[in-house]
Amino acid sequence: MIVAKIIEWDAAWQAIWTAVVSGVGITIVFSLAVLGATRSTDMRRDERRSEAALYGVVALAGFAATIGAVVYAITLITTK
């Protein structure tokens, strides 16, 4: 009961869900970038150009999202 009063629940929940979404999210988008880059290389080697291009787009989008997440994290801290 005392603990419930001491904790600033809004701030605590915000910290928890932000950590979960950003921690798991950044790994997912970077994994997609790795998948895209790996598959794109494989497809290019097999001369399947359209699929290589598609996976290339996945790789670029994943990498861009990762960079975006890092920049957003830094911005979040500096604006507080």
Partner: protein
């Protein structure tokens, strides 16, 4: 005059603590990058030092928490701050000696609480702040990092399943440059601020800053950032070895997931003003990334030693901080003699520890 001398000693001791904080916590930032061969050791440590320096300038919210919300800043004297710092440094050196990644932040808070308790009793401790902003987050954060890193690595393995391991590992090693950078920034943001908070607390006690106008001067920010960066660059190779290979053997994907989860938890908590232990968080993340792949991959005996050190940190630093305050009081509450003698003793003790470990450290550095 005596008060000025004590202030100089306190600021010097705080910066020395900040140096040991960087030195002790280098492993938090670089151990995974080194063990997964994402970066050569020296480059990784230099990179971490730069990120820590930059990170220290990003926010001052945690500094305010340390300075205002844990002990009654109106009841704090410079001798109390000094004794708290010595308690923290003593614990940091002891855990470094045994290669255990314990929390510099909790050592600092424990030392301060112990010294304040010895001086004024329980009234000087802000129980709500200590419980709500330190102890409960200390329990939640490593578990959260464990779960986030575990979920992250499961997702990563699902996405890159059935791909050739060579390119996948190279990709995640590249990603570790980003995640290590983010972790370094978050470490600098969270940890350098604790020293800033302590120095500002001493300035309040000295009368340079009014207690109701708590703010961190620029010279405090710059000197704290420099001290933690120098400490980080000096590197604590013993702890790097424990974290990098003794808890689990990591692959680059696990390294990325652990660093990303650790940085996310630290940054989210710093944003809310919680002075988290970066050590607890990144260790929790490393264990989570390992356990999600295979529970038996984590060396639970080593993890158990680390958890024991975590539990002991605040009480042990508090006992040393309280004891040091008692020693300095023998020479008078406002006398500089006590702090001068204790500083000389801790310097001699530190030199002895470093000398005893010098040969061993060289060997570890070569194998890191």
């Amino acid at each position: 005059m005596s008060a000025d001398i004590i202030l100089v000693i306190v600021v010097g001791t705080a910066l020395a603590f900040d140096f040991t904080n960087g030195f002790h916590d280098t492993a938090n930032v670089v151990a995974t990058s080194i063990s997964t061969r994402a970066m050569p050791p020296r480059i990784a440590v230099a990179f971490a030092a730069i990120c820590n320096f930059v990170g220290a300038f990003l926010s001052l919210k945690v500094a305010a928490t340390v300075g205002k919300d844990i002990v009654d800043s109106g009841a704090i004297s410079m001798t109390i701050v000094f004794a708290g710092l010595i308690g923290a440094i003593a614990w940091n050196l002891a855990t470094w000696y045994f290669g255990l990644p314990s929390s510099s932040s909790h050592a600092l808070i424990g030392g301060l609480v112990g010294a304040a308790f010895a001086a004024h009793g329980a009234d000087a401790i802000l129980g709500d702040g200590l419980l709500g902003k330190v102890l409960i987050p200390a329990l939640v954060a490593p578990v959260l990092a464990f779960l986030v890193a575990g979920a992250a690595i499961i997702a990563a393995y699902m996405i890159v399943a059935r791909q050739r391991p060579g390119p996948v590992n190279r990709g995640f090693r590249l990603g570790e440059l980003l995640s290590a950078g983010l972790l370094g920034l978050s470490h600098g943001t969270n940890d350098a601020q604790k020293t800033m908070g302590i120095i500002t607390l001493a300035l309040v006690a000295h009368g340079n800053i009014a207690a109701d106008n708590f703010h961190v001067p620029d010279w405090v920010v710059i000197s704290s950032a420099s001290a933690i960066a120098l400490g980080t660059y000096s590197g604590g190779w013993r702890i790097i070895r424990t974290m990098g290979s003794r808890i689990i053997k990591m692959d680059p994907a696990q390294g990325f997931a652990a660093q990303g989860a650790g940085a996310a938890v630290i940054l989210a908590a710093s944003h809310a003003g919680y002075p988290l232990s970066t050590t607890h968080v990144i260790n929790g993340a490393v264990m989570g990334a390992g356990a999600a792949k295979r529970v038996s991959a984590v060396r639970w005996g080593v993890a158990g030693n680390i958890i024991t050190a975590w539990i002991l940190t605040i009480p042990a630093a508090a006992i040393v901080g309280g004891g040091i305050y008692g020693v300095t009081r023998i020479f008078g509450a406002s006398s500089a003699v006590g702090p001068v003698l204790v500083s000389m003793a801790i310097l001699a003790g530190s030199a002895l520890l470093f000398l005893r470990r010098a040969a061993g450290q060289g060997g570890l550095e070569a194998t890191a």
